[in-house]
């Protein structure tokens, strides 16, 4: 029993990180209709910046947190302005490809600016081990689960009720008509990129806290994207849940079948779910009328 609980908790903890990054994917998709192939890399950059702040400015949690969030916002805005905005109105495939080019640049930037060695992020907390009923958990792992849940609630309300949230959905659905309504697509996109960068960046920082930084960290994107699909591409909420599900499934498979089967189990679960719900667990069916 304890074995199972332990598996579930660590599954939730890594799943929450997948979930945060997956939400990053979904936020951009929901408001621009694009898949951002550089999501994992953006996450990684934010985490590295957080590390730099912690080693050069201050290791204080708040300093690092505020610094990382500002950095993530800036990163999102810069990318939107310099890279994505010029592609407005161009074919989707070309635009997605641009994010792939961006991913190449960001990935190389890590070794260029920093180095290929692993680094630990130390902000004075989060790395400590808490014992809950005999089960050891790192404080950061509890924090990331809580953060995910909080963000899920906030984002759900945002898309449901705020004018800007609805505008994001409108722009994604039909940006030309949104323009006709006086909605500035560029502003909406900038907001989406910034938000996505922050949400995923938070995931990245938590990852660094529990698992250290390394230039291979961008591969988290490859875990989170399936989570987005599982939850439903256009469902920000679903993506968070999708991440948790993948984390749990992988850990259960790893704990009961064997480590080599982790990834396969995650994918098998996704395929089965999609066969039952072709638009993901929370995704909405395309509206098709002829």
């Amino acid at each position: 029993m304890q074995y199972l609980i332990q598996l579930l908790i660590s599954g939730l903890a890594i799943g929450a990180i997948y979930g945060l990054i997956a939400m990053g994917f979904a936020v951009i998709y929901k408001s621009t209709g694009l898949v951002n192939f550089a999501q994992g890399e953006m996450t990684m950059i934010t985490a590295y910046i957080a590390w730099t702040i912690s080693t050069t400015v201050s290791g204080n949690v708040f300093v690092v947190a505020v610094g990382a969030i500002l950095a993530a916002v800036l990163l999102g805005l810069i990318i939107e302005r310099l890279v994505m905005r010029p592609m407005l109105g161009e074919p989707v495939f070309a635009t997605v490809m641009v994010t792939i080019g961006l991913a190449v640049i960001l990935r190389s930037a890590i070794n260029f600016i920093w180095d290929a060695y692993p680094h630990g992020l130390d902000i004075g907390m989060g790395r400590g081990i808490v014992h809950l009923g005999g089960i050891g958990v790192r404080a950061g792992q509890i924090a990331v689960i809580a953060t995910l849940l909080l963000l899920l609630a906030a984002i759900w309300a945002f898309f449901r009720y705020s004018k800007v949230g609805v505008a994001m959905r409108a722009v994604a659905a039909d940006d030309r008509t949104a323009l006709l309504m006086g909605i500035s697509a560029t502003r909406v996109h900038a907001l989406a990129w910034a938000a996505s960068s922050v949400i995923a960046g938070i995931g990245g920082v938590f990852f660094a806290l529990s698992y250290d930084l390394s230039p291979a960290m961008f591969q988290l994107g490859l875990k989170a994207f399936p989570a987005t699909i599982l939850g439903g591409l256009d469902a920000v909420l679903g993506s968070g849940v999708g991440g948790l599900l993948i984390g749990i499934t992988e850990n259960l498979a790893g704990g009961y079948i064997g480590s080599g089967m982790k990834e396969v189990a995650g994918f098998a679960m996704i395929i089965i779910v999609l066969m039952i719900r072709p638009f993901g667990i929370f995704g909405e069916r395309d509206i098709e009328r002829v």
Binding site: N111, Q219, G255, G258, S259, K262
Partner: protein, 362 residues
């Protein structure tokens, strides 16, 4: 004459992963080559010719390794080759190397395939992965008789080699293996694996990860509140690892055939290197720098022995005649007729968390 030689210069080529995560080993190895070359050039070069080093990046992608090797051979027309990327990559370029006949000293990834059967022009400095593991497991088994064992390996050729070495000792010493895991390359979260390890009650653990994996595993064990006797393999034996493992990494064992940086030989090497490389490069030094340095020294010495007009044939035969060449970073190196593998002596080291260094134990 053979390519790569002018009146004033002699070219040596290399292809390494210089970008992406494996840059950790590729860059370090190339720095080792650079140190040896700078050292030789500072001493006047090879019989008056300065050595020029041509380095290509393959990003750890096999196709690009082949491309890179062809480039340095065909376009840059180098005289000899050093290094050459990871194990899968060097295996794949073997036909190219053999066909071209260029003198080559491999130092990064010593795997059996590279010297069995021996190829005329390809020499390997180091020790095989299997032997390394066998040495480590034997040591741990002798030290911890009758204990329960756990092992985890990566799901690639590197992992298989580790596993093979391990299995041979298990058979010979009839070890009691209670956990045997196999993780996907690139895996970052080891919570379920380590939980299984804990559940199995293993007391001695061979962590077959490379770098980040071993760190993640030890930290996970710390969380689970157990501390088995742990052994790691040389690719992961780099000092920053200890810092990240923290107290959990204290006293883990490692095996290697190059000297630890904490020892006198290691310190001397760093002293020597310091003026020869840039500051950034100096930071990139790790054990692969030593293997690269040793291989370059052997190659340079062989070319040197060929005198004024070195040729491929001469270089190859001189390489073959390498006997007990001292490099200061590992045991003396020797090859021989039909022997293309230097078979370095191994030593066991132990981590010291206080000084963040590995110290020899035997």
């Amino acid at each position: 004459a053979d390519p790569g030689i002018t009146d004033s210069e002699i070219l040596i080529g290399d292809v390494e992963p210089l970008t992406g995560p494996p840059a950790l080993l590729g860059v370090a190895a190339s720095i080792g080559h650079k140190i040896a070359i700078a050292e030789a050039n500072a001493a006047g070069g090879i019989n008056g010719r300065k050595i020029k080093y041509v380095l290509e990046d393959d990003g750890y992608v096999t196709a690009r390794t082949i491309q890179g090797v062809k480039k340095v051979i065909d376009v840059d027309k180098v005289f000899a080759m050093l290094g050459i990327s990871g194990s899968g990559q060097s295996i794949a370029v073997m036909p190219v190397l053999e066909k071209s006949g260029i003198p080559t000293v491999i130092d990064v990834a010593p795997v059996k395939f590279l010297w069995e059967p021996p190829r005329k022009n390809v020499f390997v400095v180091g020790q095989s992965y299997e032997e390394g593991i066998i040495h480590l497991v034997n040591f741990l088994a002798d030290k911890n008789p009758g204990k329960k064992w756990g092992l985890i390996t990566q799901d690639d050729d590197y992992g298989i080699t580790v596993r093979d070495g391990f299995d041979s000792v298990v058979k010979a010493k009839k070890l009691n293996v209670v956990y045997s895991g196999n993780y996907k390359k690139g895996q970052q979260d080891f919570s379920s694996d380590m939980l299984q390890l804990k559940d199995s009650g293993a007391e001695v653990f061979l962590a077959g990860g490379i770098i980040a994996e071993n760190i993640a595993m030890t930290k996970e064990l710390e969380k689970l509140n157990i501390k088995p006797v742990t052994g790691i393999f040389w690719p992961g034996r780099i000092e920053p690892v200890l810092k990240l493992m923290g107290p959990a990494g204290d006293r883990i064992y490692a095996v290697d055939y190059v000297e630890p940086f904490a020892g006198t030989a290691g310190k001397a090497f760093l002293e020597k290197a310091k003026p020869l490389v840039s500051e950034a490069e100096f930071k990139g030094i790790n054990r692969y720098t030593m293997t690269g340095y040793a291989a370059a020294r052997v190659l340079i010495a062989a070319i040197e022995r060929c005198g004024k007009q070195p040729t491929w044939a001469c270089t190859i035969s001189e390489l073959e005649k390498t006997k007990n060449v001292e490099t200061g970073v590992m045991a003396p190196i020797s090859f021989g007729p039909g022997v293309r593998f230097s078979n370095q002596k191994l030593q066991i080291m132990q981590a010291d968390a206080a000084t963040l260094s590995f110290k020899p134990v035997e």
